[in-house]
């Protein structure tokens, strides 16, 4: 026992004496250096790629923090709020503890024109701010000497000091550059005039002058696009277009004294994470400090004798009461036991007896109230609101389909009870124009003009009507037929003002006149305890309404802007993954190089392996020893590679902000070196390298020891499985598979998809490589058939290439795969052209796409509307007969690849029914389950879903119009969340929103409730990459505040080619469209009309993809070069191994130049074979693109890349051969 332990102790000492690892590392350091270099490249590229991802994230985060300063929460109101709301909130200790500062601003989305040049900038934010806004930014970010409270009225001394003609405005550099203006220049701002009354309701004003407000300002200063000069709440890396005026000035311009519409709360640091505040604290504080006026609500109590009874009324300055108010009032009434009496007032243009002769007896412009019968109440509180009196006592019933007239109107018409009356009124049409509509109702009773029925307050204030002396003075938002107004109508107005002339049942009235903005115009409440409680009830309402009402529909909730901004800055695209993917070829090449070099090293030490085996070292132990050695070397290399990672990352970030700028749209990228990225890169590189090393030593165990001792590292030829039998079988199989897929593609063109062709290409590549391998292995056992003659050099070269088939095939595979990928990627590069005008293209047959900042309520195809908009005759003429579609847009985040931020709340476009019926565009995928639930076309859909692969449906087949899927009624989720069918661009869904077909994206509707958008179809390469499309009806249902139209699609001029090929005519159509676009831009400048051709828009999107492709090509090219280096290494090794053999040939009289030719030929053969195989396979795989019309194959770039690989490879071969053949003859002979 003692002996044994002393023995093992001794052997331990022996082991420490012989430290195999250290000795090998030192002895073979030159060989190891090459392996380490390979590992270094792998880790540099991997970690570097991850650094790019982190840098993009870091840069976006830095950009977000720079823009927001200390801003943490924002309250963006639809209406206006008191300027001192911030101060009042900060007076609460809990709020002040979290948010030490606040600032209020007036924010007006605008478009701007340079007065002199007429240059237009749309999507501009005009900010009315004070110095409290500047204080939200670090000192070094505040423009020096700038005070928004006191903007100078003259230019600075350096600029001449002249006095400005118009109020001063400060522009940020981005806006100033786009407009081409500087200090002293005049600019004209146009923005949507504030309207408390929804424009899309009866009382909304939609005339061009009513919608747009303009103000002329003088530029006093231009500030940098950073800090306050880059303020933006929307996640996009592009510099925003900003203009600043002093808050008080803008308040005067807007006629909103001491009001703001954006309140910002700031945390106490500029780079701190979002402030964590217990949920509800801020909301509760806000409710304590809001006023009813902030909600546009009026709560008034009225008493007799002015009123027929004692009641409290709740009305809205918006005319219609939002549903949320009704819900809150009901709740309060229930708690306080008050009686509730809601009503909806409307205006009848005419009331006439159906049986009367046409116009002889009709009553114009009458107020109608839709009500339930006033509650009867009990005891002392009987009939708290009074009742509608008739000659025979109060009205007892009011049926649907009935109308009551007051005595005056009944007498005017001579109407009798039971008779049918026709009420004509304005309805809001689908395109938000007022259209006359009418309804026939039966006269149920005649109400006496006394008591409740004589209360003019039953009709709330009609803006532009209520205060008028005469009807003739009315200024309603619609056209008034003054001719219809008779003296007795004026008399009624003088005497009874807006007292309703007619009553209908509430349900009937709401069915006719309710809108998405509300279904009531007033709610009366009466205390059940008599008049004494009236003031108490009013007080309760004033207080409780603010605490009870859902504030979301009013846009009155604080948004965690900082948190959302930082979340979005994680980015939609992980550039880390992207660059790992782009660099994969470099990584693979580096790993293969490591494997190749290491394997060569191991082969060189075959005798060592053999000896160790002979000495009784188990094969596993030998393998492990080599593996550990390799790993130590690789780890050292990979660690050094981390320095390279920083360099690689820096280079990529630099390239992204310069050459590849279209991919990121920002030059504000900074390298951020994070330990995590380095660590992950290191580990990943080590995993990759270890696998290659394992692969390299794996075969050592299978070689017979005597062969190893003889210095041979390959198994004996003729051993089982040798001579390429497997390779041959594999080659035959792959070839057969490729052939049958090709036959399938030819015989069944419908099945010929891009995937199929890729499969054919890949199989051809595999077949080519394996058959080469089989052929080489087959040659090894055969005589060379070497005969004197012209071909002998070639035969020699062939034989030599086959000599070490494993190595040759590996090197060739590297080159073949690289060229395969590069050519394939290059074939994906496309530019949109004239075919965009076809209906099935990504532009859907439209030539122009335009957006406006202020909504248009006019129809561009309607001559009257065009007149209202003041279009010039030449614009009118150009528009004549053009296909124009107007779409509603709910502004949100840009969901396209142009936005680096992760869009949380994408822009939504409402697709009108007409456009859905028109169809067009091409779909990448449609959801077959969506088709089946579509009852309209279920039979067709079933047929189509069987006939075609749902993932690869082409809309060119007229089987189905996928747009109709937007009409599908999708069931709500079990927890009651509505599901709305949506369409997005395939690229947007896949890469940015990260949803697939049939999957859902959840957004918040205007009330703050979740709505699931379910993607029923995905467009292929369309112009709609920035937004998500839903049916217009759905958009309005969930976002009632979206008014008017802000997105326009215009068809091509001329006959509007819808099919067939368009070559040069396409280009003509586009230039003609550009002219129309320019005309509309100048005519509709006040709306911020901004158009581009669909080809331009698609080219912008394509530019990103093409840039990605360039990036991939560049990095892939580098990988290919590295692969070529691998080839050179193989060659060097082969020549070195054969230097004895070559020396013999020289001894027999072969000239060095002849030998060099043999060796060169052999290697060029391998190189060419690899390049050719890769190219042929790639061209096969890319056949569908290349045969398509819109490809732009960069022949030159590809030829250059492949050519340079060939040249570099050949030079490396030449140098290696020359060097080997220059060696001394005799020592070389000895090495044989």
């Amino acid at each position: 026992m003692a002996e044994a332990s002393s023995g093992s102790a001794a052997s331990r000492s022996a082991a420490s004496k012989v430290s195999p690892l250290g000795r090998s590392l030192r002895h073979y350091r030159r060989r190891h250096l090459a392996v380490a270099a390979g590992a270094a490249i792998a880790s540099a590229v991997l970690a570097g790629a991850l650094l790019v991802g982190d840098s993009v994230r870091y840069s976006l985060q830095a950009l977000t923090l720079d823009r927001l300063g200390a801003v943490d929460r924002v309250l963006a109101a639809e209406g206006f709020l008191d300027e001192d709301l911030g101060a009042r909130l900060l007076a609460e200790p809990q709020v002040a503890a979290a948010f030490p500062a606040s600032a209020g601003a007036l924010v007006m989305p605008s478009s701007v024109t340079a007065a002199e040049s007429g240059a237009l900038a749309s999507n501009v934010t005009l900010l009315g701010v004070g110095d409290d806004f500047l204080e939200l930014y670090p000192l070094d970010r505040r423009p020096e000497g700038l005070s928004f409270d006191e903007l100078p009225r003259e230019l600075s001394e350096e600029l001449g000091g002249q006095r400005l003609l118009f109020p001063p405005v400060v522009l940020n550099a981005q806006l100033a550059a786009e407009l081409g203006v500087g200090p002293g220049d005049e600019v004209l701002f146009a923005f949507t005039r504030f309207s408390e009354v929804p424009r899309a309701s009866l009382m909304g004003r939609k005339g061009a002058a009513d919608v747009v407000q303009k103000v002329r300002l003088s530029v006093v200063r231009v500030i940098e696009d950073r800090g306050p000069g880059a303020f933006s709440l929307s996640p996009h890396q592009g510099a925003p277009r900003l203009a600043f005026v002093s808050r008080s000035r803008l308040q005067r311009v807007l006629d909103q004294r001491a009001k703001i519409n954006l309140l910002m709360l700031a945390g106490d640091s500029f780079d701190a994470p979002p402030v964590a505040l217990e949920g509800g604290v801020l909301d509760a504080a806000l409710r304590r400090h809001l006023t009813l006026e902030d909600l546009s609500l009026r709560v008034e109590s009225r008493l007799p004798p002015e009123a027929p009874s004692s009641y409290v009324s709740v009305e809205s300055a918006r005319f219609l009461l939002p549903d949320a108010v009704r819900e809150a009032v009901d709740e309060i009434a229930e708690e306080s036991g008050a009686e509730v009496w809601p009503s909806l007032s409307y205006l009848a243009n005419r009331i006439r007896r159906v049986e009367a002769a046409a116009e002889d007896s009709s009553v114009p412009y009458s107020s109608i109230v839709a009500v339930e019968l006033p509650p009867e109440g009990k005891g002392s509180a009987a009939a708290p609101f009074g009742s509608l009196p008739t000659a025979n006592g109060p009205v007892r019933q009011l049926e649907p389909g009935e109308v009551l007239l007051n005595r005056w109107a009944a007498d005017e018409l001579g109407a009798e009870i039971g008779e049918e009356l026709e009420l004509t009124y304005f309805a809001v049409g689908e395109d938000e124009n007022l259209v006359e509509d009418s309804v026939r109702l039966r006269l149920g009773a005649v109400v006496e003009l006394e008591g409740l029925a004589a209360d003019p307050a039953l009709t709330p204030e009609f803006p532009g009507i209520s205060g008028s002396e005469d009807i003739a003075d009315w200024d309603p938002p619609f056209e008034l037929d003054l001719g219809a107004i008779r003296p007795q109508d004026e008399e009624y107005w003088d005497r009874y003002r807006g007292t309703p002339k007619a009553y209908v049942e509430l349900g009937t009235g709401q069915e006719l006149w309710r809108s998405r903005f509300g279904a009531l115009t007033a709610i009366r409440l009466a205390p059940t305890g008599g008049t004494a409680d009236l003031e108490g009830l009013a007080e309760i309402l004033r207080k409780d309404l603010l605490t009870t009402v859902d504030l979301d529909p009013f846009g009155l909730s604080f948004e965690p802007a900082r948190q959302k901004g930082l979340e979005a800055s994680r980015g939609a695209t992980d550039f880390g993954q992207l660059f790992v993917a782009f660099s994969w070829f470099l990584i693979v090449a580096a790993a293969l190089l490591v494997g190749l070099l290491f394997r060569l090293g191991v082969e060189e030490r075959a005798k060592e392996v053999g000896l160790l085996r002979a000495l009784g070292f188990p094969a596993r132990q030998v393998r492990r020893q080599f593996l550990v050695e390799g790993l130590v070397v690789a780890t050292a290399g990979a660690l050094v590679g981390l320095i390279g990672a920083v360099v690689y990352g820096w280079a990529m970030v630099w390239a992204l902000s310069t050459w590849w700028r279209p991919a990121v749209g920002s030059s504000r990228l900074e390298l951020s070196v994070t330990p995590t990225a380095l660590l992950i890169g290191l580990i990943a590189a080590l995993v990759v390298v270890s696998l290659t090393l394992w692969f390299a030593v794996r075969r050592l165990g299978t070689v017979e020891t005597p062969r190893l001792l003889a210095g041979v590292s390959e198994k004996a030829a003729g051993a089982k499985g040798g001579s390429g039998a497997w390779s041959r079988r594999f080659a035959v199989l792959a070839g057969l598979a490729a052939f049958s897929l090709g036959a399938l593609a030819t015989l069944q063109p419908a099945m010929a998809s891009a995937g199929l062709f890729f499969g054919i290409g890949a199989l051809v590549l595999i077949a080519g490589l394996t058959s080469t391998s089989a052929w080489m292995k087959g040659r090894q056992g055969k005589a060379l058939a070497l005969r004197p003659g012209s071909g002998s050099l070639f035969t020699l070269a062939l034989g030599n290439a086959a000599r070490n088939s494993g190595r040759s095939v590996l090197a060739m595979t590297l080159v073949a795969c690289a060229s395969f990928v590069l050519v394939l990627v290059a074939s994906n590069r496309r530019v949109p052209g004239g075919e965009m005008l076809e209906r099935t293209s990504g532009a859907g047959g439209f030539a122009l796409i335009a957006t406006t900042d202020a909504p248009l309520f006019q129809d561009l195809t309607n001559p009257d509307d065009r007149f209202d908009l003041g279009l010039r005759p030449e614009t009118e003429a150009a528009l004549e007969g053009l296909e124009v579609f107007a779409l509603r847009r709910r502004p949100g985040d840009d969901a396209s690849c142009l936005n680096l931020y992760q869009p949380e709340d994408p822009t939504l476009l409402g697709v009108p029914r007409s456009l859905r019926q028109r169809g067009g565009f091409t779909f990448q995928a449609i959801d077959p389950s969506g088709l089946k639930t579509n009852t309209e076309a279920s039979s067709q859909a079933e047929a189509s879903s069987q006939a075609i692969d749902p993932r690869e449906v082409s809309a060119s087949g007229d089987i189905e119009n996928p747009w109709s899927l937007l009409d599908v009624d999708l069931p709500r989720t079990p927890d009651g969340v509505p599901v709305v069918p949506a369409i997005a661009d395939f690229e947007t869904a896949r890469w940015i929103l990260k949803v697939g077909i049939g999957e859902q994206l959840t957004v918040e509707d205007a009330r703050g409730n979740p709505v699931h958008l379910q993607f029923v179809a995905l467009l292929s390469s369309s112009i709609f990459q920035s937004e998500v499309l839903v049916a217009e009806e759905a958009l309005l249902e969930y976002f009632p505040g979206v008014e008017g139209f802000t997105t326009f699609l215009v068809g091509p001029p001329g006959d509007g080619p819808q099919s067939g090929t368009i070559g040069s005519e396409g280009a003509d159509a586009f230039s003609a469209s550009q002219v129309i676009g320019a005309r509309l831009e100048s005519d509709l400048v006040d709306f911020g009309f901004d158009s581009e051709t669909t080809a331009q828009r698609l080219a912008t999107f394509k530019a990103v993809q093409n840039t990605y492709l360039s990036t991939f090509q560049t990095l892939g090219g580098l990988g290919l070069l590295l692969g070529t280096l691998g080839l050179a290494v193989v060659l060097l090794r082969n020549v070195h191994e054969r230097r004895g053999e070559l020396a013999v040939m020289r001894a027999f009289g072969f000239s060095p130049s002849r030998l060099r030719k043999v060796v060169l030929l052999e290697n060029i053969l391998l190189l060419l074979l690899g390049l050719a195989l890769g190219c042929i396979a790639a061209l096969l795989a890319a056949a569908p693109y290349l045969l398509g019309s819109s490809h732009q194959f960069p022949w030159m770039a590809v030829a250059m890349t492949l050519g340079s690989v060939f040249v570099v490879g050949s030079i490396a071969c030449y140098l290696a051969t020359t060097r080997a053949l220059r060696s001394e003859l005799v020592p070389a002979l000895r090495s044989l």
């Binding site: 022996a14 012989v18 009784g616 188990p618 001792l709 003729g718």
Partner: protein, 253 residues
């Protein structure tokens, strides 16, 4: 027949219970693309500890192949090989390696010293394969062996700094470090000049006697073969006993 391979190795080396190596009907052929090439045909051989054999034969007669088979580096196509009662080819790979490590020592024509190690380290190399099997102070034995081959003054030199004879003497020391029962030498003097070859041969015999190994040498040097008491010749793949002298070769023979 399963015996612990180390039991063969563990037998008391000084005891008279000698090891017996028996090869019966050993055949070996190689598969080539051109077909099967027979190298050894039904070779029978029996030898014991203390025996010293020389195997001669023309080039390509299969001498090295026979040595590789006897040293368990290669598997026979047919026939059996027994060390006492143990058939090493029935052992799993790991145990076969262990058997080889403990029982067989090799001296190759090409010394196969590892260039990265010093002489001492090269000699110690076999003790690293199964460190736990090593008894006694391996390093002391290595130094002792190197002293016996006359290289005690060059312990820390690298193989590249040695002459051919010195390298081969180091290789012999390495072969003996684990006190193998069988010492197989493949043309141990083939690359050496006459004087050096003599010295190496003397050393072999000397150590063989001291260690009581079964010494088997393959050579085509008639001089070297003549010094062996037992000589065999490989002719046409068959092994023939050519001479059995009573005496052993003298150092001056």
């Amino acid at each position: 027949m399963t015996r612990d391979p180390s039991s063969v190795a563990a037998q008391d080396r000084s005891s008279a219970a000698d090891l017996c190596l028996q090869a019966r009907q050993l055949s070996k052929h190689f598969d080539t693309p051109a077909g099967s090439v027979p190298v050894l045909q039904q070779v029978d051989l029996e030898a014991r500890s203390g025996d010293a054999l020389a195997i001669t034969g023309p080039s390509g007669s299969g001498k090295s192949t026979l040595l590789h088979l006897l040293g368990t580096l290669d598997q026979p196509s047919s026939g059996s090989l027994l060390f006492d009662d143990l058939d090493p080819f029935e052992l799993p790979e790991q145990e076969l390696a262990r058997f080889r490590n403990a029982v067989v020592g090799f001296v190759f024509q090409d010394h196969h010293l590892l260039p990265q190690y010093s002489l001492l380290e090269n000699v110690l190399l076999p003790t690293l394969a199964f460190p736990r099997d090593v008894e006694g102070d391996a390093e002391a034995r290595a130094r002792q062996l190197l002293e016996r081959v006359g290289l005690s003054h060059r312990l820390d030199h690298r193989p590249s700094q040695l002459s051919g004879g010195e390298r081969q003497r180091t290789a012999i020391a390495r072969a003996l470090i684990r006190s193998p029962r069988v010492l197989l030498c493949d043309e141990p003097t083939g690359n050496l000049d006459e004087d050096t070859a003599d010295a190496v041969a003397n050393l072999l015999f000397e150590l063989h006697e001291q260690e009581n190994t079964l010494l088997m040498v393959i050579t085509h040097s008639p001089e070297l073969a003549a010094r062996f008491p037992r000589r065999l010749a490989l002719v046409g793949g068959r092994l023939e006993e050519t001479a059995v002298d009573g005496a052993r070769g003298d150092s001056d023979g």
